[in-house]
Amino acid sequence: MNKEAYMIGLWSGILCVLIVGIFMKQKLRSLKEYDERQKIVQGTGYKLGFFTMMFACMAYGSATLVWDVPVLPMVGTIACAFLGVGVFAVYCIWNDAYFGIKGMRNKVRWLMIAGACVVLNIISALRIYAEGEFIEDGVIGVGAMNLLVILLFLAILSAILVKTCLVRQQTADESELD
């Protein structure tokens, strides 16, 4: 795999998202308002995600010091960051602070975007695996990034599904009590 081309593509994508985000900031803000309770929950979520990422980075760094970890440093670092992001997302979903005040409308749009993201990354991951670029020189290379994205989104989607089922069950139980 041409690593320079991969990095240029990756950072170009990040830059595009940032630029689009800056231009659409006003529109995005109106669609994704959070109330005071949700902001408090998100604050706690950020803290948990941050410390999870810190601990994961320390664990990864310690492991590379002691053992010969067959993972590219960039992939290991990104995995630690994704772990922190996942903890934040799951905590907020569990405490109804992920989708904002306009919950249902945001949830549908998010699920569509997440679904498209997972599908595109699965296609890319399969291509990388088929071309034998997943492991290079005995080390898990940048080809694993797509897998990390898939795992992150699947974890978040699972949390949404479990929470939705739980809420439905609670609503049904409360209706029976009434």
């Binding site: 109330d35 005071e36 309770r37 949700q38 904002g100 005040i101 919950g103």
Partner: protein
């Protein structure tokens, strides 16, 4: 502690949690948490709720003092 007075006031106006939440600009889950006593709203939110339900702060949010038996 559950806020039954809030729930009663809302029911008296035949409003659902979602309708009250929309009226004061919060999510339904936040309104549910306030009624269940899991979240203490800010004074600003309390005032918004009182305005929508036509009640005072004392009527909806002031904790009733426990009566102490005199010796």
């Amino acid at each position: 502690m559950k806020n039954l007075r809030l729930k009663s006031a809302r029911a008296a106006l035949d409003m659902s949690q979602q309708q009250l939440a929309d009226a004061v600009g919060v999510s339904r889950q936040t309104m549910n948490a306030i009624e269940k006593g899991d979240y203490n709203p800010t004074i600003k939110l309390c005032r918004s709720i009182c305005r929508v339900l036509g009640k005072t702060l004392d009527e909806l949010f002031w904790e009733e003092e426990e009566t102490v038996a005199e010796p």
